[in-house]
Assembly symmetry: C2
Homo-oligomer: 359 residues x 2
């Protein structure tokens, strides 16, 4: 059986396209209780972008601080419960921010129409009913959350996405202007999420002509943005990074992430480390699995004067390391892709612990 993947319904790309948001929403304002829920990264509070939000008096504007931890099932449940109680069912949701805000907006869209805690729905096709209209505006590029079928949440038991056709955004606005002010370190970490998942996509069993074409082009764009002559944060590279992120995400529709994401999920679940940063921490020590990718990654670190902390594992207890290894070990689909059907002959709880101890 080949995957049948759901695309974003509609996409606008281009510098200044954020200005079209108001018109897009006006077409949907007649639905349900006639208000929109805006979920916006706290970073933009008081900034220029706040003034440009087409928020009407009846709308709800929530600024969300996505630091220091990854989005949780509790967080999504609370937003849903609070809005339903105060105002009822929104006409739709607008998510403006990075991968975490994208995931929260996607998850809320589903949870407004599916009862109980979102932790019940962590997995593939567990959602029962279509969500409400949801529109995503990425302001940091790299995670691919703008085009993925998954809203990744950390729940009481696991870090795992709500994955189904209805998770995918109805509309995405890709405006490269919006990512121009991302602080350099987060520009780097999130961009590296794309770079890393493309390396993982390419170096695994599921890679096919579809995922390869997208990953290859995304990697080419990443190299332009992060290492080739002319690299760095500038207008032309903002345009490229936004496309690299989308194409990296689309590569994963037919392939999978691998060893790095397995470790990264362990870090995020046990220590709450942000996803893109956790990827960078782990990838830096995975030369055994991705020699060429790690070599390029280290060149990029040097180029942009990014210094990753070393010897982190010395501050972790043996029990924490063991818990992280358990989280990573249980991500079977990643190991199957990265190593193959005989992965259990090559990877053990102990060997994963040793990988964590490199960090």
């Amino acid at each position: 059986m080949h995957k049948n993947f759901k695309n974003i319904d509609k996409v606008i790309y281009g510098r200044g396209s954020f200005n079209q948001l108001d018109v897009l929403l006006s077409e949907k304002r007649a639905e349900h209780n006639r208000f929109f829920l805006f979920i916006v990264d706290h970073y933009f509070k008081g900034k220029e972008l706040e003034k440009r939000l087409p928020v009407k008096p009846e709308d709800v504007l929530l600024f969300i601080d996505v630091n220091p931890e990854e989005p949780t099932t509790d967080q999504v449940d609370q937003i849903r419960d609070c809005i339903l109680k105060k105002k009822g069912l929104p006409s739709g949701i607008v998510g403006i921010g990075g991968g975490s805000v994208m995931d929260i907006a996607k998850a809320c869209s589903l949870m407004f129409t599916n009862e109980g805690s979102s932790s019940k729905y962590q997995g593939l096709n567990l959602i029962k009913k279509p969500g409400i209209y949801h529109l995503g505006v990425p302001t940091i590029s790299g995670t691919g959350a703008e085009c993925s079928m998954t809203a990744v949440l950390t729940g009481p038991e696991k870090k795992l996405g709500l994955k189904c056709d209805w998770t995918v955004f109805n509309q995405v606005i890709l405006d490269p202007d919006l990512i121009s002010s991302v602080p350099t370190d987060w520009w780097f970490y999130t961009g590296m999420d794309t770079f890393i998942h493309c390396v993982e996509s390419e170096n695994g069993k599921l890679n096919n002509a579809f995922s390869h074409a997208y990953a290859e082009q995304s990697l080419k764009l990443c190299r332009d943005v992060f290492i080739n002559p002319g690299c760095g944060q500038n207008a032309a590279n903002d345009e490229k990074l936004m496309i690299a992120s989308m194409m990296g995400g689309l590569s994963l529709t037919y392939s999978e992430v691998g060893v790095c994401h397995a470790l990264s999920y362990g870090l995020s679940k046990i220590l709450g480390t942000r996803h893109c940063y956790a990827n960078c921490l782990a990838f830096n020590h995975l030369e055994d699995y991705y020699p060429e990718g790690v070599r390029e990654f280290r060149q990029m670190l040097v180029k942009h004067k990014i210094v990753l902390p070393q010897h982190l594992s010395r501050t972790w207890t043996e029990d924490q390391i063991s818990q992280m290894a358990s989280v990573a070990y249980n991500l079977t689909h990643m190991w199957l892709h990265a190593i193959g059907p005989d992965w259990k002959d090559k990877i053990s709880h102990e060997s994963i612990k040793n990988l964590f101890k490199r960090l």
Copy 2:
């Protein structure tokens, strides 16, 4: 205003994925009058693929001979009228074939729910109501019709697409096995449609980071299929060509075709020449506009021993050439992209006639 483009709702890619067609249709069979309309390229009548069609007793199977001319508004109207009269509204339409069959299936989907002749709706957003469910299975790759927002038809007055969000397929199955038996000449002509529209997309005013990323990767794949070492019709290249076609089509969502397609439309409208072949006839003489692309194109011709007829224009009347030039001249959006806002200073009815006389 930036374009807001509609994606194909769902895509399955992979060798053998055609076998999933039956399951996909079963989910839709409860709609309307509970039958599917299959529109299949006549080429497959009596072939292996015919036996694999999941046609139920209540369904209608139409084999369509797409030679020698391009799909017409009359043809679409007749199919619609005949099916509505005999069986009522189908649950959906399955189109299996090349670009012409894709366009007929897309147009029929719309015309089952929009009254009058399809010629009334040639243009942008003239369609009033959503069409019925339609699923496309390309068996020749290159036109990009599988992912475009347009169903191109030749009408009494013009060759122009029915273009709107609802034109786009609800589902596409991309099975590289299905293109393995395409005769070499048509494999070449249709593949060149992708190559040519990517060259046109890249060499024009509308090209942006989005269209460039797609066109660049599509061109790379085309070179693997048609000129690089290992080129030719084989399993690996069938996989690549199918992706090249899709990516070439997606490149055009933010860019435009150019001089070659303008001439090609003239040929098709006045002489009925098939689209991809007409593109090849015209492109071969457009070295003034696309020097690098035409050079590569000619290398590909030689590589695959494709001989295009010369001195065709000697068999055309002055009046025919004038009519073709009028068709081409009126495709304003193509000239605006290819030449720029001052195109009328550089291109005239007479200069276009001279281009046709090169053929």
